[in-house]
Subunit: 105 residues, 2 copies
C-alpha cells in the first residue's frame, strides 16, 4: 500500500496513534499528504491541525515527540495507525493518552 | 462526559474500535447521535455508514457483532473508543482487524 493509493477526504485521513509497546491508543488526529510524507521522511509524527489550519509536528513546542516505527492502513485505505514510541505525554492535558474519560451512560 | 457534550462534526464522531482483551485496534468507523444512543442502550456497536448513508448495526448480516463494554472520550470530545469483545472478524475481508497492511515507505 502506497501513499498515492490512500483515500484522503478533503485532503485529510484520520490517524490513530497507538503505543507500540502497550497497544494503548494515545490520540486521534488527521494527516494530509504533506504531513504523512514528513512523518515517513523524519520518523516523527506530523499531522494537519484542523483548528489552526497548519502542518503540525507533534511535540514541536512541548518536546513530547512521537517516534513512528510503522504505519498501518485499513482495508478501505481511509484510516491509518501510527505505531509509536512516545517521548512524553501525548495529551495536551499532560495525560499519557487523550482518552482518559469514560462516556457516562 | 455525557453524549450532549460531544462534538459531532456534520453529525458524526469518529470511533476507534479496540479489543478490550488485547488492546488491538480492530477498525475505525463513525457514529451519529442515534448510533451512539443505540450502542449504549443495546451494548452492541452501532455506526453510521457513510457509504450507504444509513444506520448500521455492526454484524447485522455477518453475525460478527461487537459487544461494547466501555466507551472512552478524548480530551477534545471529538473522538471515541468503543472497547469491545468481538464475536468474529471485524473486517469485511475476514481479517480480525481492518488494519492488516503496512504503508510501504
Amino acid at each position: 500500500m502506497k501513499i498515492n493509493e490512500l483515500d484522503f477526504k478533503n485532503g485529510l485521513i484520520p490517524v490513530i496513534v497507538q503505543e507500540e509497546s502497550s497497544n494503548m491508543v494515545l490520540m486521534l488526529a488527521y494527516a494530509g499528504r504533506e504531513a504523512l510524507e514528513l512523518t515517513v521522511a523524519s520518523g516523527l509524527a506530523h499531522f494537519w491541525s484542523r483548528s489552526r489550519s497548519r502542518l503540525w509536528k507533534k511535540g514541536e513546542t512541548s518536546g513530547n515527540l512521537l517516534e513512528v516505527s510503522r504505519i498501518l492502513v485499513d482495508c478501505d485505505c481511509d484510516a491509518l495507525i501510527y505505531m509509536v514510541k512516545a517521548m512524553g505525554p501525548a495529551c495536551h492535558t499532560g495525560g499519557k493518552s487523550c482518552f482518559f474519560r469514560a462516556l457516562e451512560v
